[in-house]
């Protein structure tokens, strides 16, 4: 037994030393790839398109002058906020932000990516490098995955390397890091698919849990207003867009969310008159324009992108 304990203790000491050394080196690598200069985008880009899969599938940034679509599917507003914060600090030329904003964005359904034990780790791993202490506190969940990721975040223990591999390799090779190398940077997603499978599935995901109707998400609302304030402070024109939804989906959105959403839109218009709100949710699109019940496909995207171009936004 003594021999066993001696060996184990020695092995543990070696492991701890190695973890400390790797944490030191990893911390340096992380600081390097998080340098502001790496977040610089083309100086001519003045419009950022942000949000979840709704803006990702709707707005073709190739057709919108001086714009860049960096939306990422299932992105919660807390992550959008930190992403925007980081990019704005490196890109003072940004004058417009287009943000997808639908009732599902302020439902507790959107919190699944933050608090469900399965999804927490995925989004934490993707966005951890952007978060500050308050952000990490806000996404606290009593799961083991959260605890492990928190420890990794706090003590610079290597995270999910598959998401960071490109960044680390570029730092080691002293190559230039591009914005698209970051795991949280998405892009316009064009799809020619048209699959109407089951309208109740997205409705359940967005607005129900175990058959019970969900409530508004406090954390989504908190960061929604923080995004508005961030844009306000930086004199950026914020354009909130409710992207098209199929009428079968729209009709199933619980009344609570329909009215709370309307109230929020009204409140924003009162508190922040500079914010533009555009509602395409009931835009008359044929079925063939939809990828599924709540996303447009490439045909729908072309129509809505053209519509956005007609709106009173200065893209220069």
């Amino acid at each position: 037994m003594n021999k066993f304990l001696r060996q184990i203790s020695f092995f543990l000491v070696v492991i701890i030393v190695i973890i400390f050394i790797s944490a030191y080196f990893y911390g340096n690598l992380k600081n390097n790839y998080l340098k502001n200069k790496n977040f610089k985008i083309n100086i001519e880009t003045t419009t950022l398109i942000l949000g979840d899969s709704h803006s990702q599938t709707t707005f073709d940034d190739k057709k919108i002058p001086h714009s860049k679509n960096i939306s990422f599917h299932a992105e919660h507003y807390i992550f959008t906020y930190f992403k925007l914060l980081k990019i704005l600090s490196a890109n003072p030329q940004i004058t417009n932000v287009v943000l997808s904003f639908g009732p599902h964005n302020i439902s507790q359904g959107s919190d699944i990516s933050l608090f469900s034990s399965q999804r927490t780790s995925r989004s934490f791993a993707r966005y951890f490098m952007l978060l500050d202490a308050n952000g990490v506190k806000d996404i606290y969940s009593p799961s083991q995955n959260w605890r492990i990721n928190y420890l990794k975040w706090k003590y610079n223990i290597p995270f999910q390397l598959k998401l960071e591999a490109k960044l680390i390799i570029k730092v080691l090779q002293q190559k230039e890091i591009k914005l698209r190398d970051y795991p949280f940077i998405g892009s316009f997603h064009s799809s020619n698919k048209h699959v109407f499978k089951d309208v109740s599935t997205p409705i359940k995901i967005h607005y129900y849990s175990n058959g019970n109707e969900l409530k508004k998400s406090e954390i989504a609302l908190k960061y929604f207003y923080k995004i508005i304030e961030l844009c306000d402070e930086n004199n950026i024109k914020l354009i909130l867009v409710n992207t098209p939804q199929h009428k079968e989906y729209r009709n199933l959105i619980p009344q609570y969310f329909v009215s709370y959403y309307k109230k929020t839109v009204y409140k924003v218009s009162q508190l922040y008159p500079n914010v533009i709100y555009i509602d395409y949710s009931d835009y008359q699109l044929s079925d063939s324009c939809f990828g599924d019940y709540h996303h447009v496909n490439n045909i729908g995207s072309e129509i809505i992108t053209n519509e956005l171009l007609k709106s009173p936004i200065n893209y220069k």
């Binding site: 037994m1 021999k3 066993f4 060996q7 184990i8 092995f11 070696v14 492991i15 190695i18 973890i19 790797s22 034990s117 399965q118 780790s121 995925r122 934490f124 791993a125 083991q144 995955n145 605890r147 492990i148 990721n149 990794k152 223990i157 290597p158 995270f159 999910q160 390397l161 598959k162 698919k193 699959v195 499978k197």
Partner: protein
């Protein structure tokens, strides 16, 4: 309490310390400690589960004792029947009642337009119920067959049934093997403990680095197969084969390694099943404790392969595979999976070639021959296709998944290749050690190379941890 949790590490250190330092001179105290800690381990999920395992253990303990002292064969048989009915009854109510009730209602409704009015029960499926039920069943059947003496010590017997390393997902230990180990004095053995730790390390690696990692891709592919190319769906099926293998065999490795740390030897549950050359060999290497259980307590009593007619043989094979499928879960997907396995297995048993490959593939050689690789590949493809039924939510989902694989885009490059490097590492490590109990057993390399390997595995576990999924076999 999951093996891969902080709680388990603390729990393990406390129990290990008391077991070897405080109670090292008393088997009885060690058994009491195992019993208490096992009930704590199990109750940590949900304390309500404890009543079931307690009732099951108590019933079988009393019935076996009574059976032993009884000379009248009919009464002995009656006691066995009581044990079978109560154990299978509990399993049936908690695991299968809703499935059969829904299925009969649906069938009746399709035939006659109205349902039978069977209600569904709002029951939680107790974790590991299928495992410990089969373990206690083996005990009473063996006592009935007079292969084993009934235990006189309730502490020993209850500790055997609830032994925490293998309680929730096996290996399903026979009383003949495990119970006597509770009755003997246990000594701390440095080499055994060291090997136990290595096996635990390998098991955690398989679970955290491979199963949980590829499981993320598997979920994406299976949840929305219509969104992915045929090549990606084929990759998804490939990933699931490794997810389920690494998840379950990883758990078994941790269980066996943990038991070794306490001086117990559990049976081998997986013997590198994907290195099999035909379906018969696969089933001798996959979930061995369950396959042999069904062989000894179902297949052989039915007559096994020593029956007069081919129809009867077919019935026996079909029964064992269908029941095995049903054991995995109350869903038609598992029944279809069992049925298809029987269809694949039956020709080999009919031609007497089911025990053709009893040796280890590439025995004595570093690499397999081309012929062996071809057979291994073909077997893997067949097993892989059947796993789709096992993973899909419904039989029609499985058919949609398969039909979406074999389309034009099957010949495009898959995009989600992130799980491949670790699977390659697994295959290399397991191929090297295919004659051993686990990949890290008895490594001959120099110490610094061995330690380098262990440290690399630990670092990989640290990097990959945080995306953990529940062990798949817990649901069974």
């Amino acid at each position: 309490m999951k093996f891969t949790s902080f709680e388990f590490i603390i729990f393990f250190i406390i129990v290990f310390t008391i077991y070897w330092f405080v109670f090292k001179n008393s088997i009885r105290k060690q058994n009491v400690l195992i019993l208490i800690s096992s009930y704590f381990f199990y109750g940590y999920w949900d304390y309500r589960f404890l009543s079931l395992i307690f009732i099951s253990s108590l019933l079988d303990f009393l019935l076996a004792k009574k059976m032993q002292s009884e000379d009248n064969e009919n009464r002995r048989k009656g006691m066995l029947i009581i044990s079978l009915i109560s154990n299978i009854g509990m399993l049936g109510v908690f695991k299968y009642y809703n499935f059969f009730s829904n299925s009969f209602n649906e069938m009746y409704q399709n035939l006659f337009g109205n349902d039978l009015g069977f209600v569904t029960l709002n029951l939680i499926l107790p974790i590991g119920i299928s495992f410990y039920t089969f373990q206690t069943l083996s005990y009473t059947i063996d006592v009935y067959r007079q292969k084993l003496k009934a235990s006189n010590d309730p502490i020993t017997f209850f500790a055997y049934v609830s032994f925490f390393p293998q309680l929730v997902a096996g290996p399903i230990e026979r009383a003949v093997n495990l119970l006597p180990q509770f009755e003997k004095e246990r000594f701390f053995d440095y080499d055994r403990a060291k090997d136990g730790l290595r096996q635990i390390l390998w098991g955690v690696f398989k679970k955290v680095v491979i199963a949980d990692n590829v499981g993320t891709y598997v979920d994406q592919f299976y949840n929305n197969p219509e969104l992915y190319s045929g090549s990606n769906l084929a990759l998804g099926a490939f990933y699931f084969a490794f997810q389920i293998y690494c998840d379950f065999s990883g758990y078994s490795d941790i269980a066996i390694g943990t038991a070794r740390m306490f001086g117990f030897n559990l049976m081998k549950n997986f013997n590198y099943p994907y290195f099999s050359r035909d379906i018969g060999e696969f089933w001798r290497r996959w979930h061995i404790s369950l396959s042999t259980w069904f062989r000894d307590y179902l297949y052989i009593p039915l007559g096994g392969s020593k029956v007069d007619s081919k129809a009867r043989l077919f019935f026996n094979v079909l029964t064992i595979f269908i029941v095995s499928g049903l054991w995995h879960g109350a869903n038609w997907t598992f029944i279809v999976w069992g049925f298809l396995n029987a269809m694949l297995f039956f020709p080999s048993i009919l031609t007497g070639r089911n025990r053709k490959y009893l040796n280890t593939i590439g025995d004595g050689n570093r690499f397999p021959s081309f012929k062996e690789i071809s057979k291994m590949f073909l077997t893997f493809i067949m097993v892989n296709l059947l796993w789709i039924f096992f993973r899909a939510n419904t039989v029609s989902d499985a058919i949609i998944y398969i039909s979406n694989i074999f389309v034009e885009s099957f010949f495009t490059m898959p995009t989600k290749l992130g799980g491949i490097p670790m699977i390659v590492l697994l295959i290399i490590m397991e191929w090297r050690s295919r004659t051993k109990n686990h990949a890290l057993e008895n490594l001959q390399e120099k110490r610094f190379i061995r330690w380098g390997g262990y440290i690399s595995l630990i670092m990989l576990i640290i990097i990959f941890t945080g995306e953990e999924k529940v062990f798949i076999y817990f649901q069974f």
